[in-house]
């Protein structure tokens, strides 16, 4: 379990770095697009238009980053257990039941994430056969890899939570 937790922390740090890198890319690329477009539209600089032509991949690329940031952010959120939820029971339930509830909820989420990983892999198999190409002539399924990868991250995080709560319950019973 300790090894798992250490891996979890290293993974979280890695995710953090990737988030920072991707968000910088998103900010810079979108700004450059707007700047070049207004230089061309209002200043009539031909070179700005030519530059825009060179970075025509950046539009779809930045939109793809939205999906990456979504899953990476959600994964970090899962580590902290701070997902948006409706919680009517916290105040009503006796305190000693809370770990059991957490165990059930985390296991349910892990199960759902696992199904989603499987479904997303099916989806990518389909795209590999029938999908077209996207920017820079990449096959479209490459851009969709984030879906199974993202749900796999969530699956890992929910599993750790479930194991952690399980251990606490067992300890609570034996002590």
């Amino acid at each position: 379990m300790n090894a798992l937790k250490r891996f979890d922390d290293i993974l979280a740090r890695l995710e953090g770095w990737v988030i920072i890198l991707l968000l910088w890319l998103m900010v810079i690329l979108t700004f450059v697009q707007v700047a070049l477009r207004s230089l061309y539209t209002y200043g009539h600089f031909q070179w700005a238009n030519a530059m825009l032509g060179h970075i025509d991949w950046s539009g779809p690329f930045v939109r793809l980053l939205v999906l990456w940031l979504t899953f990476l952010g959600a994964s970090l959120l899962t580590k902290e257990g701070k997902h948006i939820k409706i919680d009517l029971l916290s105040t009503l339930l006796p305190k000693k039941w809370l770990p059991t509830r957490e165990l059930i909820l985390a296991s349910a989420c892990a199960l759902i994430s696992a199904i989603m990983v499987k479904v997303c892999i099916d989806y990518i198999r389909m795209e590999m056969e029938f999908g077209g190409t996207i920017f820079l002539n990449l096959p479209s399924w490459i851009s969709q890899l984030i879906l199974p990868a993202g749900f796999a991250l969530l699956l890992f995080r929910f599993l750790i939570r479930a194991i952690d709560e399980g251990i606490q319950i067992v300890r609570g019973i034996t002590s």
């Binding site: 953090g16 988030i19 920072i20 968000l23 910088w24 998103m26 900010v27 979108t30 700004f31 697009q33 707007v34 477009r37 207004s38 539009g59 779809p60 930045v62 939109r63 793809l64 939205v66 999906l67 940031l69 979504t70 899953f71 990476l72 952010g73 959600a74 994964s75 970090l76 959120l77 899962t78 902290e80 701070k82 997902h83 948006i84 939820k85 409706i86 919680d87 009517l88 029971l89 916290s90 339930l93 509830r101 059930i104 909820l105 349910a108 989420c109 759902i112 994430s113 199904i115 989603m116 479904v119 997303c120 099916d122 989806y123 389909m126 851009s143 969709q144 879906l147």
Partner: protein
């Protein structure tokens, strides 16, 4: 079998299952019943990567988190104090206006009470405002300003309902002013009644405060002007806002360090984005099933049997949304409920732009509604007051906001006047 699964799912969701997981499960159950492949869900989630509008969400959230750090809140409060402090009940007005403004520029991400409450609440108490009045005022002010650009709930509503975000921003202005203005009048009235101290207006202080806040004050106006002059789209405005805020915060005020503070803020803001957008992804999958299964049509048939008129529909909508608002946060409420409501409203001849404004006003009020309104809990833990006291303290403000809601709902012209003017 399916019925048992649905009941288990509902129990799990109200006991705190993350909403995105609940919605994904609902989508899977629905697809299973209609015999459609589950791959329909990832296809819908992937739509998140194909909508240029959605780019505005991470960008504005990041800008909002940047603005919530450092001295922006202090500068804004100082400015509005120099502007409104001399009125009777002036500090109450100051609190309401600064909170609404702060909510707007931080994109209504729910950090207003935490960021400004600690500053304003002690100030109100030290100027002899009643404790309950001050508590109620600060708590409700956390949900004002949802209508002003660049509010994220408006962008989300526009995306989900396929309504023009530019028009929504314009339509929100007057109703937004109304929702801030009515509690302000109440504060002036109470200030008169309690004969609170009124510091005189000082031109010198006003100019100094204006100079201090001059970099941050124009942000919403610049965004609106940029969009309406046709200079940029909402998404491009988001890109420009982030760049501008980064420039102001790191180079002009030197409050945030590029290497020490920015990485933390980036991660925090993207956690928020992840939390909202993963629900959006799941909701897209679920909505797809709903539409395929003609669920909105079925609800429509049901409603038409029960409600005959536009007014009747709006009344049911108001009550329904207040119930939703006190159970769900505004983002998930928009993602889950809007796809169901929009076709209904269209059938009753309600303009989707007006509907959006009503929606936001309603959900903002839901935040303050007992027993589970989110603002009440945030304020209760922030100011260390029992939740029952907050129920009582917010009640008069809640009634005032309900009055504003009635005006906004049954007077469509208030919302539609400005966008129609610009068409």
């Amino acid at each position: 079998m399916i019925l048992i699964m649905v009941i288990i799912l509902i129990i799990l969701v109200i006991s705190g299952l993350p909403l995105f997981a609940g919605i994904l499960t609902a989508a899977m159950l629905g697809l299973y019943v209609s015999g459609v492949e589950f791959t329909a869900i990832p296809i819908e989630i992937f739509r998140l990567a194909n909508a240029p509008v959605l780019l505005a969400i991470p960008l504005f959230t990041f800008a909002g988190y940047l603005l919530s750090q450092g001295g922006t809140s202090t500068r804004l409060v100082r400015f509005s104090r120099s502007l409104f402090g001399w009125l009777p009940g002036g500090l109450g007005v100051v609190a309401l206006v600064s909170c609404a403004f702060f909510t707007a520029i931080t994109g209504a991400t729910g950090i207003t009470i935490i960021a400004l409450g600690g500053l304003l609440f002690p100030a109100l108490i030290s100027e002899k405002y009643e404790e309950n009045f001050s508590l109620g005022l600060i708590t409700t002010s956390g949900s004002l300003g949802l209508h002003f650009p660049p509010s994220l709930p408006i962008i989300l509503y526009g995306f989900v309902s396929e309504t023009s975000i530019e028009q929504l921003f314009m339509a929100g202005l007057l109703p937004g002013v109304l929702m801030v203005g009515i509690p302000c009048l109440f504060s002036v009235y109470m200030g008169r009644k309690w004969r609170l101290e009124q510091p005189p207006f000082s031109g010198r202080e006003f100019l100094a405060a204006l100079k201090g806040a001059a970099w941050e004050l124009p942000i919403p106006i610049l965004i609106l002007a940029g969009i309406y002059s046709g200079f940029c789209t909402a998404t491009e405005a988001a890109a420009l806002t982030v760049t501008y805020v980064l420039f102001v915060k790191t180079l002009i005020f030197r409050e945030l360090s590029l290497l020490r503070d920015l990485p933390v803020i980036m991660k925090e803001s993207m956690k928020m984005v992840g939390g909202i957008m993963i629900i959006l992804g799941a909701a897209l999958g679920f909505t797809n099933y709903l539409v395929d299964a003609f669920i909105p049509m079925k609800i429509l048939e049901l409603m038409e049997g029960l409600v005959a008129s536009k007014i009747g529909f709006l009344m049911v909508l108001n009550i329904f949304l207040i119930l939703v608002g006190c159970m769900m946060d505004i983002f998930s409420a928009i993602l889950v409920v809007v796809p169901l409501i929009v076709p209904l409203a269209a059938r009753f001849g309600i303009d989707p732009v007006h509907l959006g404004i009503v929606f936001l006003a309603n959900l903002g009020i839901g935040y303050n509604t007992p027993p589970v309104g989110l603002n009440l809990f945030i304020a209760s833990s922030r100011f260390e007051k029992p939740i029952m006291q907050l129920y009582k303290a917010t009640l008069p403000f809640l009634l005032l906001l309900l009055f504003a809601l009635l005006l906004i709902t049954y007077w469509p012209g208030l919302s539609l006047f400005l966008p129609n003017l610009l068409k």
